[in-house]
Amino acid sequence: MKARLLHPVDDFDWQWALGAAAERRAARGGRHSSRIEGFDPRKGLPWNADALVADLSLNALLDAMAPDDDYVFEVARKILLTGVHGDLATIRYRQEILRDCLSCPAAVREIYRVAVDAMEKQGWGYLGFASVRYPDSMLRGAIETMANFLGHLKKLRQIADAHAPQFASEGWIAFFRMLKRDLDDAYFSQVEDHLEALKFRGGEFFSAQLGTANKGGNYILHRPPARRWSLRAWWASLFADKPPVYRFQLHPRDEAGAQALIAERNRAIGIAANALGQSADHVRDFFGMLRAELAFYVGCLNLGDQLAQRGAPICLPLLAADDSRRLSCRGLCDVALALSLGRRVVGNSANADGKDLIIITGSNNGGKSTFLRGLGLAQLMMQSGMFVAAEAFCGCLCNGVFTHYKREEDARMESGKLDEELGRMSEIVDHLAPHSLMLFNESFAATNEREGSEIARQAISALVERQVRVLCVTHLYELAHGFYDEGLENALFLRAERLVDGTRTFRLIEGEPLATSFGEDLYRRIFDEQEDGDEIENEKGHAVAR
């Protein structure tokens, strides 16, 4: 039984989510968590996950998806950062499921709650350390846990019976069909029968084979015969050939022998405890997987509620083929900004269909970085099957999102600033592939404009030539205008709008890059009494206000 709500065929790595959620819970509580053996917090995440989280303010988005649920947080983080590559069908599969979730949120949250309850109220008696030595207590714990799970399975079946007709997507229909098929009444009574038999009221019965050192090996547990006395069986046994039997009884004062005999009985009980314990693990894992896959959609519901409160639009993006080079949006909001401001933000529209190079210039505090981040987030959200915060959005899947942002001076003083930037860029180049999305935010500005522009020109030209889509926010006029002068068909130039009186609209308009004329500003600041004086101090103040 598989939930299959994130992918029609593949499993989600729900065990990773379990480990990650446990670590996050411990960290938030200021406790030290002992890491689950073999848990790798970076498993499956792209190498630049930390940079993406920081540069795109991803945590603001994740906090809105998971206000109080570490599990939802980690699942969403993983899915957003991993993304689906080159598989439109899976994205559409998720979009359909999400559409159902948005129309029946109450039922989805109820199923999620059953999975959470099952996971959190399970008896731990069959897992504890002590039970490793005492299979009988492990078996009792497993029976109790299984009885508990049985209750949750029945509840799941009831929800399926009540709500299945309201769901229309392929994923949900398959899920409910599976519950009806695999969790029928006959199955439930079979389970109850086992739980009774495993109490071994009639003694333990097993067989073994002579193995290493002539000790027993290959132990097999047998179901003890029902010890109901019947006349016919008794009568038959009187005349049957009695097979040879060797019998012995423990001496009442032989304590070592009593221990040894318990060890023998435990051979049988251990097998039963293993089988039922393993079975309980399977049922727990089923709920674990269900919880993890639903966590993503519950996160989407939470985010949808938050965005609705701030008047931000949401839509399921339209997906185009990978190499169609489509990218257009109407009323695209930066989710991170919308969430942190707590009010409606200005949406941007752009049509970059067929464009491989998008250069964004313009005055400070004009919404350049916000647009870049909004677009990067929208790409990640689209690529994970989520809705995006826009009135309309059309794009194609990319081969990974990469960010190269201006950073603080390297604290270790090991490398100069430009050296550090170039080192980071080189590392990115190591991971780039055609159809990657590369976001530059004021890169290569750690040297003078002429040199910075030249380095950036060479790097960007090469990337575009190798089919990497480049979005570049820059103050390097020589760089921006250099590309503009080339008259490239596949380049789009956007400029933060600034009205004649200096007001920013936070809208981006298409147009030729304008010289920022730093020298002129400076000249004016000093000679013409500061017309635009606070512009420089306030640099980025708007976009980074959090």
Binding site: S207, G211, H222, L261, A272, A273, E454, L463, R466
Partner: protein, 511 residues
């Protein structure tokens, strides 16, 4: 049964096994380190005595070279390793067997051990015949082994053990425990209930689950309840256990002495080959040298210090190789030149080559011709010893005197920086006198010294010098060469560094 030893041509070449003390020069030449590392992990074979006794006869050396040439066949070497592991397992198993208090368990382990021994012997026999060895050593042993492996005694031993074991492992029995009462039955078909439970819940499995396994002790010992259950099984299967008891009583001494000896002796070669394997992999050459008693012309090409090379290769570095030769009446190599330049290493190399050559082993170098020495003497600088109350100079003279007394024309002497604790005049005087005595003795010698003058005492002495990099006297090359001692050597560029220029990025993102 020593007629087919893999180490010695015949019993007369054999050195006594009880020689456990290394020769005096082992420490100075770092041979102690080498032998310790070679023998490490092979303590059970007691290999060190073999390394403490150099051979005295050229044909004995050739005998070992032949074996070494056979061992160049990787399949043969692998087969011998398997054999060694197998024999070790057999020995360990016999030792463990004795510890079991229950006789039916002992008997079981005996069967296991025999089965293993049978496999090991049969396997070696077929591997050796497939290898087509040419050395006298391997041919003699192979002949013995074929004969043993095809003997009726060996066949019955192995077959009977196999049959008994198969009979035992076919026995299945049932146990019913009700409170303190236990019944043991012959097994009657009954379904696997654990499997039934697991099958009921298998539908919930989410991929590979961590397997839950109640850990039963794997100890092969039994407690008395288990023994009682086994007694029950014995009662139900009397014939099988009777045969088992008879077999154990009759076949306890089963080892063949020649195979046991071979198992130990062949490790002499394998241990050395294992030790030099990383060096060969790093591209360093080894060769079987020509060794001669009558000739004192010696030479070596691309030779190096084995102990040092092992350390360097571990760190990913490579040793510097050197060449040397002595022709005609040349006997003494006088090594001078800047310190830390590899002089002592060179002297050790010379000594190691001779000693390893005398053991019949391949030596570190591409090509070598060596003298079959009777003894090797070393005189290296020692810490001042307060116990003998002699000054350092005096100690030096006493030691060199003892060496000259004991040395013969067939000896090899390595002298390293002596007479450093006196005036130059004294040192020169002593040096010349001792060199003259060596020349008279016609002994082979490498002498590391700061006294340039010693290198030009006559046609018997040859000067070799440690060298430095031209134009940078602080940097050593570690090359020792034959020559007269002379007593004396940033915006676009950053982008290029990070491989971020246009053309380079295009190349890096090559589709």
């Amino acid at each position: 049964m020593n007629s087919c030893s893999i180490l010695f041509r015949d019993a007369t070449d054999r050195v006594p096994d009880d020689r456990c003390e290394p020769p005096d020069f082992f420490g100075d030449l770092n041979l102690g380190q080498i032998v310790a590392a070679v023998a490490a992990g092979k303590e059970e074979y007691n290999l060190k005595p073999f390394f403490y006794a150099a051979l005295r006869d050229v044909d004995c050396i050739r005998f070992r070279h032949e074996v070494m040439q056979d061992l160049e066949d990787a399949r043969l070497l692998a087969a011998l390793r398997d054999f060694a592991l197998g024999m070790r397992a057999v020995r360990d198993s016999l030792a463990r067997l004795e510890k079991h208090p229950y006789v039916h368990q002992k008997e079981y382990w005996f069967l296991e051990t025999l089965a293993r021994y049978g496999e090991v012997v049969a396997r070696l026999s077929s591997d050796l015949s497939a290898a087509g060895c040419r050395s006298r050593g391997f041919r003699a042993f192979s002949a013995h082994l074929m004969q043993y492996a095809s003997s009726a005694t060996f066949a019955s031993l192995v077959d009977e053990a196999k049959r008994l074991k198969a009979e035992l492992s076919a026995i299945r029995y049932s146990v019913v425990i009700r409170g303190s009462r236990v019944e043991v039955h012959r097994y009657g078909e009954s379904p696997d209930y654990g499997g039934e439970v697991a099958a009921t819940f298998a539908r919930f499995q989410q991929g590979a689950a961590q397997e839950r396994r109640f850990k039963f002790s794997n100890a092969t010992e039994m407690n008395h309840i288990e023994a009682q259950i086994l007694d029950g099984v014995v009662q139900l299967h009397r014939e099988t256990f009777a045969k088992l008891g008879d077999f154990y009583a009759a076949r306890r001494e089963f080892f063949d002495a020649a195979i046991v000896a071979f198992d130990r002796e062949v490790q002499f070669y394998i241990a050395y080959l294992d030790y030099i394997a990383p060096l060969k992999k790093a591209g360093l050459a080894f060769c079987c040298p020509r060794v001669d008693r009558s000739d004192k012309e010696v030479h070596g090409e691309q030779v190096f210090d084995l102990a040092l090379a092992v350390k360097l290769v571990e760190k990913g570095a490579a040793p510097v190789c050197n060449d040397f030769h002595l022709k005609g009446r040349e006997r003494i190599i006088v090594v001078s030149g800047p310190n830390q330049g590899g002089k002592t290493t060179f002297a050790r190399t010379f000594g190691q080559l001779h000693y390893l050559g005398g053991l019949g082993l391949p030596v570190p170098g591409a090509k070598a011709q060596l003298h079959l020495f009777d003894r090797i003497f070393t005189h290296f600088e020692r810490e001042e010893q307060t116990s003998n109350l002699r000054g350092k100079l005096e100690d030096d003279v006493v030691r060199i005197h003892a060496i000259l007394q004991a040395a013969t024309p067939h000896s090899v002497i390595i002298v390293n920086e002596i007479f450093a604790s006196t005036t130059l005049r004294d040192a020169l005087f002593l040096g010349r006198t001792i060199a003259a005595a060596m020349i008279r003795l016609d002994v082979l010698c490498v002498w590391v010294t700061f006294l340039d003058e010693l290198s030009a005492l006559g046609e018997q002495t040859v000067s070799m010098v440690s060298t430095v990099v031209l134009g940078n006297p602080a940097q050593r090359t570690f090359k020792i060469v034959r020559q007269a001692a002379d007593g004396l050597a940033y915006a676009m560029s950053l982008a290029e560094k990070h491989r971020l220029t246009y053309a380079v990025i295009l190349g890096r993102l090559q589709p």
